[in-house]
């Protein structure tokens, strides 16, 4: 009797184990094709969009040493569809495996479509689709997105998911591109007060681009030659209310990133005008942002005043004029110069965005919220309108943690 009972229990357990496979939702890696990049373009047909899918081959690079397959690491298909959700099914007419957006990393939108007033309704499908994660990035390319993925042929990192992951991660750390996740995009649109920056990318190098100062480039303008891939991630596209209205250069984007406390900027290198005599007009410094900015506002009266203090740490990386930094006087000069440079650059950028794009390029309105008791008061204040008349003052709290390896003048 006891034996039968035990056997019955073991059988029951076995039956339960079978249910673990999930029956309907059984997923075989073999059977799936993961979309890493999704491209959206305007379609020649009315009410449709052109969808491009960059599919990764999970077999490539997964095996150490020999035995790996000789298949290509990726597949790209483009076609016209009503939206990118149903496009998954249409794509199966061409792709043998089941298409999944589960590992989607980047959505590339052509500038043309991003400027379309209807763009937000198209991208809103991403909220509804349960596979798309809100940590996918939104990027804007100057050319058609379908062309972008075709032209994008990384030489070193051929697996697309790793390529985009590293490219974006390091771009954000260096401050050249904004942290434009879908979460931020929808959050900014919903609150309706600030501008959203999406990363700007291009896989087509401009013919004869002009040389510009440090990082004052849009994507595709960096004049690099050699044996490499032409894709560039630099600068940002400005969105207001979910529609693109303009562009910022790499340098302007990095300024925005230092002002924005919610982004993940680490430390980056920068050229700063050299205050000391000499032929070299600039010196290199590493800027480190370790603390949050202090934002104070005076919102009474017709023209609000906004004071932003940036607590930044610097490391001097070059010393072209061979200045002796052990002298207090020289230290003061360089500190003053850095503070002056930051003030000018930041205020210039903020004023430009305020004038041209009529908003703040980072969630500045959040800092205004603490001056109001209730939502009604805040709404009455009308940030969007008041901000246009705001005077913005930026101050950099310069702390130099390292003056470089050589402090004394050579020969002294």
């Amino acid at each position: 009797m006891k034996k039968t009972k035990t056997i019955c229990r073991i059988l029951l357990l076995l039956v339960i184990v079978f249910s673990l496979t999930g029956c309907w939702d059984r997923e075989e890696l073999e059977d799936r094709s993961y979309v890493i990049g999704l491209g959206l373009d305007r379609s020649p047909y009315k009410g449709k969009i052109k969808v491009t899918m960059l599919l990764a081959n999970p077999e490539v690079g997964s095996m150490q040493g020999g035995g790996g397959s000789t298949e290509k690491p990726r597949e790209i298909i483009s076609f016209d569809a009503s939206d990118f959700i149903v496009a998954k099914v249409t794509a199966n007419a061409i792709i043998s495996r089941l298409i999944s957006y589960d590992l989607l990393k980047i959505i590339v939108v052509s500038e043309e479509l991003a400027k379309d007033p209807n763009f937000f309704h198209i991208i809103y499908g991403a909220v509804y689709d349960k596979e798309i994660r809100m940590n996918a990035y939104l990027a804007v390319s100057e050319e058609m997105a379908s062309e972008y993925f075709l032209k994008n042929r990384p030489k070193m990192e051929t697996r697309p998911h790793k390529y985009f992951q590293y490219m974006i991660e390091h771009g954000i750390e260096n401050g050249l591109i904004p942290d434009s996740t879908l979460l931020r995009f929808f959050k900014t649109k919903e609150s309706g007060t600030d501008l959203f920056l999406a990363m700007n990318t291009s896989a087509v190098r401009k013919k004869n681009p002009k040389f510009k100062g440090e990082n004052e480039y849009y994507a595709g303008q960096v004049d690099a030659t050699g044996e490499m891939d032409d894709t560039q991630f630099i600068g940002s596209a400005v969105f207001r209310n979910g529609v693109m209205i303009g562009k910022l250069t790499g340098q302007e984007t990095s300024i925005v990133n230092t002002l924005d406390d919610t982004t993940n900027i680490n430390d980056f290198l920068l050229n700063i005008p050299n205050p000391f005599p000499g032929k070299q007009k600039s010196f290199a410094a590493r800027v480190m942002k370790r603390e949050n900015n202090k934002v104070k506002m005076n919102l009474k009266g017709p023209g609000p005043k906004i004071f932003i203090t940036l607590p930044l740490k610097f490391e001097i990386m070059s010393n072209p004029s061979m200045v002796d930094f052990s002298k207090k006087k020289n230290q003061e000069i360089i500190k003053k110069e850095i503070a002056r440079h930051f003030k000018i650059e930041h205020e210039k950028m903020l004023r430009k965005v305020q004038r041209e794009f009529k908003g703040a390029p980072f969630p500045l309105s959040y800092n205004a919220r603490k001056y109001f008791g209730t939502i009604q008061e805040y709404k009455k204040f009308n940030w969007n309108k008041s901000y246009l008349n705001a005077d913005i003052y930026v101050k950099a709290d310069v702390e130099i943690v390292d003056y470089g390896r050589v402090t004394k003048k050579a020969g002294n």
């Binding site: 939702d25 909220v127 996740t181 969630p363």
Partner: protein
């Protein structure tokens, strides 16, 4: 069933209570609160706890007059045979419907985020089967599993919340008063249903080792749960801000967003496992309590045998609504709007009738003697 009627210790009881009520932070409650009072939503759980404190205190006081007796016994004793029966029946039916809809909500979450193509009925039936099996094992088993699990459930939740700060902005909770102080108070008084489960938990008194443990455990769980829901809502507001109103299940959206660096990017499954097991415990406990009520109402001694059929009734009721929208926005809303004030009123009436009948005096006299 010749099971020894086992006793629950205070820690098992607290674990059950926390898993039952605290899991509200991980479904759509934060969204509903946000829709009501926007960015002041995090205050609501604490304020409602403050309001519900009075009826709960009075209820516990009344019940403590009858050592080791459960809620239904007290109701029937104080309100008489017939009125008492009707009140108990109403409570039973409301909880039956409420839990059916609640379990449907959980099934919907599981389907929406993890098992997208499995039919609702299969998922729902599996959930109910597991809960029925657990409930049939008896309350002390539920208690021990809850105690085993509670530490993982709490650390899992707070780990996820901590990671969600990657994308959050504290300023989102400002302006501090949201839509205005009066509006917040009004909505708090309407959100009493957050804590009505504690009302039902009084059914478990006979299974506790002592009634002092019960009172102490209730207060510990009550305070902890109100803080947990409040903190979770606060974190979700900071992370999602205005989008919280549009995101159905913020916890699941959040765990799909967060990552452990670039090498372990997608970690939602870790949280899902803990979450689903605590959901099992939640409904197992509900099922058990409901069976207990039914057994008491119709004088059925071996009420454990009722559990499978009750689970089937849940399944049937929960299957009536066609889609999630009906469940989440209309029906649940209705049930919750009724349940909070009703249970608070019953507590007050019980206390009043005990007072008028002079039960408190008797008790005092007994103590003096």
């Amino acid at each position: 069933m010749n099971q020894q009627p086992g006793k629950l210790g205070i820690r098992e009881y607290v674990s059950i209570a926390i898993l039952m009520v605290g899991s509200k932070a991980t479904e759509d409650t934060p969204t509903v609160l946000f829709i009501n009072v926007q960015n002041a939503a995090w205050m609501i759980p604490v304020l409602s706890a403050g309001i519900f404190f009075i009826p709960l205190l009075l209820l516990l006081k009344t019940i403590s007059l009858y050592q080791g007796k459960n809620l239904f016994f007290v109701i029937q004793k104080l309100l008489g045979k017939y009125i008492g029966f009707i009140v108990c029946l109403v409570i039973f039916i409301i909880t039956l419907v409420g839990i059916s809809l609640d379990s449907r909500l959980y099934t919907n979450i599981i389907r929406a985020f993890y098992f997208r193509t499995t039919p609702i009925l299969v998922l729902y039936a599996l959930l109910m089967a597991v809960c029925a099996y657990g409930a049939k094992k008896g309350i002390q088993h539920i208690g021990s599993v809850a105690y085993l699990l509670i530490i993982y459930a709490i650390t899992g939740l707070f780990f996820a919340l901590g990671l969600s700060t990657q994308a959050s902005n504290v300023n989102a909770i400002l302006p501090i008063w949201g839509p205005g102080k009066i509006e917040i108070l009004k909505k708090s008084s309407q959100s009493l249903s957050l804590f009505t489960d504690f009302f039902l938990l009084t059914m478990l008194i006979p299974y506790l080792s002592s009634s002092k443990d019960f009172r102490k455990g209730t207060w510990i769980a009550y305070i902890y749960v109100s803080i947990q829901i409040s903190v979770a809502t606060l974190f979700f507001i900071c992370m999602l801000d205005q989008s919280l109103g549009g995101v159905g299940y913020p916890f699941h959206t959040a765990v799909r967003y967060i990552s452990l660096g670039s090498y372990i990017p997608n970690i939602e499954i870790l949280f899902f496992i803990v979450w689903i097991v605590s959901a099992f415990i939640r409904f197992t406990a509900f099922l058990y309590i409901n069976a207990l009520m039914f057994g008491h109402l119709f004088k059925i001694k071996d009420f454990e045998f009722l559990i499978p059929s009750l689970a089937a009734i849940y399944l049937l009721i929960g299957n009536i609504p066609e889609s999630q929208i009906d469940v989440g926005l209309k029906l649940e809303h209705m049930v919750q709007a009724v349940v909070g004030p009703l249970f608070a009123a019953i507590s007050l009436i019980l206390w009043l009738s005990a007072l008028l009948k002079g039960e408190f005096k008797h008790e005092k006299d007994k103590n003096n003697m």
